[in-house]
Amino acid sequence: MEVKTFKGGAHVPHYKSYTENKPITRLSLPQEVIIPLLQCLGEPCEPLVKAGDKVKIGQKIGDSKEFFSAPVHASISGIVKAIEKRTVPSGGEDDCIVILADDGPQEFEMKQVRDPENVDLEIYRKCVREGGLVGMGGAALPTHIQTKHDDGVNTLLLNGAECEPFLTCDHRLMLEKTEALVKGAELKMKSIGAQRTLFGVEVNKPDAIKAINELIKDREDMEVVPLAVKYPQGFKSHLIKAATGRDVPRGARSAQLGCIVRNVGTTVAALEAYVYDKPMIERIVTVSGPKVARPGNYLVRIGTPASHILKECGMEEIENHKLVLGGPMTGLAQPHLEVPIVKCTTGVIILPPEMTREWMDYTDCVRCGKCVDHCPMMLYPNQISIWAEKDMYDEAEKGDLMDCIECGICSYICPAARPIVHWVQRAKPEIKKRQRSRK
C-alpha cells in the first residue's frame, strides 16, 4: 500500500485508543439547547423566532440574505426561552437562541422524500443551503458555496484524515456509515462536475480504509488514498498536496487546484439533507480524555451544552482541568461548561491538570530549529515568533506570517515553550489591517 504525505509535520501522540472502538451512540437530550446565530465562516443569521415562540425540531429559526452564511435550525422541539448573549465555542459571547425542551416530538422523522439515484442538482444545492450545512471538520465554511459546477474541478477529495489527537468521530462515521458516505460522495461529485473521488484516510484507520475499499472496489471513479499518520495531514492544503501532488499557492481557487476538499461528515450530512430533508440538527462528537468515565463517539444535538455531555459521560468534576472544544491542537479552551456544541465541533476533550499545557514560562528562542524542521508551511516560526512577540509586524509580514495555518506544531515542539501560535493569531488581524490600508 503506497502511503502518501507531505514534507514537514510531526508525529503528535494521537490518544485515539480511548474512543476508536466505541460505536456511535445517541446521547440523551438536554433540557435546554443554545443555538448560536453564527455557526459558520461568514455572516450571522437574523432570528426568525422570538422569545416565547413554540418551535418544532428541524424548524428554521435563523437565516440571512448574505451568500456567505448558513441558516440555523431548532435541534429540539420546545419553547424559545430567550435570544441573548451566551458564551460560544469560538470565544467570547454572541447572540444565541435558547430553546427549552417541551413534550413535542423530539426525533427527526427520517422519511425518504427524494431518490438519491435520480438526483436533481438544482434541488440538491437548495437542500444543502436550506439544511444549513457547513464544513464539519472545523473550518465551518458554508457548504452551499462549493456546490456549483466548476469547469476546472475534476476531483472531489474527501477528508477522512482526522489527524488531530483524540478525535475519532470521522473514523467511526467512515466505518459505520460507509454506504451513505459513498452515496453522498457520488451526489457531491455530480453537483460539482468532478470525474473522480479520492478518499484521503490516514493509515491508522485500516478498518475504515477496508470498509470503503469494499464498497468501491468495482468503481472506476473512486479511490482510497492511504495517508501517512502525521499531523497536520488533514489540513486542506496538505491533504491536497499529499493526495494529488499539486501545490497549493496562497489564494488559489478550487478551479486552479482542480479539486474540492470536503469533510466526510459533511458529505453524509449533505446526502441526508437531500434524501430526508434533514437539516443540520445533530452531529457526531468525540468525547474523550484520560479521566472520562464513558468516553465515546456520540450523536449530539447542535446546541447541547458541554455540561450535559460531561454529565452523561461521567465527568462532572473538572476543576483545574481543561475543556477543549475541537481537537487539542487547534481547538479552543473554554471558560466554563455552559458552552454549546456547534456544527463544526468535532470533539469535547477534557485534559487533566497533568496534561494541560498551562500558560508556561517561556524563554528566548534558542534556535534549536525544531519548529523549522517540522513546520508544514515551510515557514520560519522561530523568526516569526520573535517578530510577532515584539510587534514587528512589517518584518513578520515579509516573513510570510500570513501563510501560517496555525496548526500548532511549533508551539507543541518548542523546547523554550514559546506560545508561537498565540502570537501569530494576535499579529494576523493587525497585518490584515495594514494590508487593507495600503490598498
Partner: protein, 337 residues
C-alpha cells in the same frame, strides 16, 4: 449550572512535547560524561580541578551578570553548566586553573550574557572563551609567575600527560597508532583523550534528536576529503585534536549554527575545509576552534542564502523569466552583436 468550576484557559495547542531547553542541556551534560570520565581517569586530579574550577566560575559568572543586567536567574536551564564543562574540556591538564577560570568568565559573561543571554549569542561561548585566552596569553606571563605558588601539585604532570598528537604530526615525529587516538590517549586537551567517548556522546545526542547527524558527518567528511587532497593522513586528522568534540558538541550548538539542514551541511563542510587549511598552512593546533568561530560569524548569511520559500509561495515565481511560456529569448542575428 456549572459556571463555578475553575477551568484552565490557555491558547492552543493544548499538548506539549516533553523536551525543554533544560532537559536538552542536561542531555548534553550526560553526553559529555564518557569523555569527562576518560579524562579524569587519565589526568586524575588535574582534570578534576579544571572541571571544578570551570563549573564554579560558570555558575558564579552567570549569577553575577544576571544580577548586574537585572534579569531573572536562569541557572536551572543548565546552559551555564554545559558551557563551564565544555570550557574545562578544551584545556590540557597542565593549564593553570586561573587561565581556565578566566576563559569561563569570558565565555559566560562576554560571549553569552552580554550578547543578550542564551539564544542571542552569535559565537559559541565555550570556544570564544578558549580562543580569547589564547589571544591574550602574552599578558599572562607575569601573572603566571606571580600565581605559580597557588598551583596545587598532584604529582609530576609529565608522567601522565604526553605530547599532543597534532604537535607530533607537525614535528614529523613517529605518529601514534590510530587505535590509541580512537580509544584513549593521554595527550592534548581533556576532550581529545578519546574519540570513542565523544562518539558515544554524540550518538546519544543524535538519538535524542537534539542534533542531526548531517553536520558532524559534513565536518568529518570534509576533513577526510581535504586531508586526502592535501596528501595528509585523513584518519589521523579526524581522530587527533578537536575535530571530534568540535563536530559533535561545538559546531552543533543550537544557537550558533544555521537553522535549516541545508545550512547545517554548508556550515559543516566549510568548517572542515577551513580546519584543514589552518592545520596544514598555519598553526597545527586550535584550528577547529578558529574555524568554528569564523563560521559562526557567517551563520546569518548562510541562513539567508538557504532560505526556503513558504509552502504557499506560487511556484511559477522560481521559473526564470526567459523560460516562461510566451516569453522568448530574441534570436541572435549575425556575429557583430
Amino acid at each position: 449550572m456549572s459556571y463555578d468550576q475553575k477551568l484552565v484557559l490557555s491558547p492552543a495547542p493544548h499538548l506539549k512535547a516533553k523536551d525543554t531547553v533544560s532537559s536538552a542541556m542536561f542531555d548534553v551534560i550526560y553526553a559529555l560524561m564518557p569523555v569527562t570520565l576518560v579524562s579524569v581517569v587519565l589526568f586524575r586530579y588535574y582534570a578534576v580541578l579544571l572541571i571544578a574550577v570551570c563549573l564554579v566560575t560558570a555558575v558564579l559568572t552567570e549569577l553575577l551578570f544576571r544580577k548586574i543586567l537585572n534579569k531573572p536567574v536562569t541557572l536551572h536551564d543548565g546552559s551555564a553548566i554545559v558551557t563551564g564543562l565544555l570550557v574545562a574540556l578544551l584545556f590540557g591538564p597542565g593549564t593553570p586553573w586561573w587561565t581556565a577560570a578566566l576563559a569561563t568568565f569570558i565565555a559566560i559573561g562576554l560571549a553569552k550574557e552580554l550578547m543578550g543571554g542564551l539564544g542571542w549569542n552569535r559565537f559559541n561561548p565555550a570556544l570564544f572563551g578558549r580562543v580569547a585566552v589564547i589571544l591574550i596569553y602574552p599578558l599572562f606571563y607575569n601573572v603566571t609567575a606571580a600565581f605559580a605558588s597557588l598551583r596545587p601539585y598532584f604529582g609530576p604532570i609529565d608522567t601522565i600527560s604526553q605530547a599532543t598528537p597534532l604537535a607530533m604530526l607537525m614535528q614529523g615525529a613517529d605518529l601514534l597508532p590510530l587505535s590509541h587516538l580512537f580509544f584513549a590517549y593521554a595527550g592534548g586537551s581533556l576532550s581529545e583523550t578519546s574519540a570513542l567517548a565523544i562518539l558515544v556522546g554524540g550518538i546519544f545526542l543524535i538519538y535524542k534528536k537534539h542534533i542531526s547527524w548531517h553536520m558532524p558527518a559534513a565536518i568529518i567528511g570534509a576533513v577526510f576529503i581535504m586531508a586526502m587532497v592535501m596528501g595528509e593522513n585523513p584518519l589521523y586528522h579526524i581522530l587527533a585534536g578537536g575535530v571530534m568534540i568540535g563536530a559533535f558538541f561545538m559546531a552543533t550548538d543550537w544557537v550558533t549554527s544555521p537553522i535549516t539542514l541545508k545550512g547545517k551541511v554548508i556550515f559543516g563542510v566549510a568548517i572542515g575545509v577551513l580546519l584543514m587549511l589552518f592545520r596544514v598552512l598555519l598553526a597545527p593546533t586550535e584550528g577547529m576552534a578558529f574555524s568554528i568561530l569564523l563560521m559562526n560569524a557567517f551563520v546569518p548569511m548562510i541562513d539567508r542564502v538557504t532560505r526556503r520559500p513558504s509552502f504557499s509561495e506560487p511556484k511559477e515565481k522560481t521559473v526564470p523569466l526567459l523560460k516562461r511560456p510566451g516569453v522568448r529569448k530574441p534570436p541572435v542575428h549575425g556575429v557583430g552583436r
